[in-house]
């Protein structure tokens, strides 16, 4: 149906649409990380050397930045998830969905700033 229409431009306020897109993208990214994370942690069952060897390959600035991105995705998904729950269960949720998004993004900053200071100084501080 969407294929025969003139497009799928969303005509409502964009906040809900883009927060939804970001929720999906961060969710998929976190899921694929999780698969790898369980597999690499499973190496503790092989030998201490095998596990440590793989962990060593993660301890460089590129992976450190990847970890920062992963945590940014997780924290967004978590706070926007709380916003979705409020929109669904709180009477005033739909009315304040835009404000709730700003709230989620503000919380995201509050968590990410101290996290990035500590994490990046661990990654780049040697």
């Amino acid at each position: 149906m969407a294929k025969t229409s003139k497009g799928t431009l969303y005509r409502g306020q964009a906040h809900g649409q883009w927060s939804w897109v970001a929720h999906r993208i961060t969710g998929v990214a976190i899921f694929f990380f999780l698969l790898v994370h369980v597999l690499d942690t499973a190496l503790v069952r092989v030998s201490p050397e095998a596990y440590n060897a793989v962990m060593e390959t993660y301890k460089n600035p590129i992976m450190g930045l990847g970890e920062a991105g992963l945590v940014a995705a997780i924290v967004y998904h978590a706070f926007n998830g709380l916003r979705i729950i409020l929109v669904d269960f709180w009477k005033q949720g739909t009315r304040y969905q835009k404000q709730l998004l700003w709230g989620a993004l503000a919380l995201w900053l509050v968590v990410m700033i101290p996290f990035l200071i500590r994490h990046l100084s661990n990654v780049f501080g040697g």
Partner: protein
């Protein structure tokens, strides 16, 4: 935009609910509440996962001197020698995998248009998820923090104490 949201259904149903002259005809079938439970599960597990994941990240990335650099076999051994962290990580594994698997199921249903494509993508998703959940569970329960014959320098400190 002009589509009426609450169309009047001509056939009367026993469950018809009428509010202000508008008939709401939500399915009342008991046969398949799966989607409702999936929807509810995403919200409940989401709240629990927020706590489980934030503590997991705080303990593994921030508390130790050096943060991520401190993660090695000895660190994992030290955590999983404690039943508290075994249960924590087991809950984390199951809830995160089920939450993520259901999320991907919904995304596949949304974007894969062909029946066969949808079917096989979901088969692949469910097989992968089952494998990862079982592997992770097995690892948490059969993990040996002080394996015999391993280099003591690589193990948690309690392995060599006493």
């Amino acid at each position: 935009m002009s589509t009426p949201l609450k169309a009047r259904i001509s056939v009367p149903r026993s469950k018809d609910l009428e509010v202000n002259g508008v008939k709401y005809n939500r399915s009342s079938s008991r046969r398949n509440n799966f989607e409702m439970f999936a929807w509810l599960f995403m919200r409940l597990s989401g709240v629990v996962l927020l706590v489980l994941v934030f503590v997991h990240l705080y303990v593994n990335l921030l508390v130790e001197e050096g943060g991520v650099h401190a993660i090695d076999f000895g660190f994992v051994g030290g955590k999983w020698a404690n039943p508290f962290w075994q249960v924590w990580d087991l809950l984390l594994l199951w809830l995160a995998m089920l939450h993520g698997t259901n999320g991907l199921r919904v995304i596949i249903d949304d974007y894969a248009e062909k029946d066969r494509t949808r079917f096989w993508l979901k088969v692949f998703l469910f097989v992968t998820s089952a494998f990862v959940i079982l592997l992770g569970t097995l690892v948490i329960f059969t993990f040996e923090p002080c394996p015999v014959g391993a280099d003591p320098a690589l193990l948690a400190s309690f392995c060599t104490a006493g």
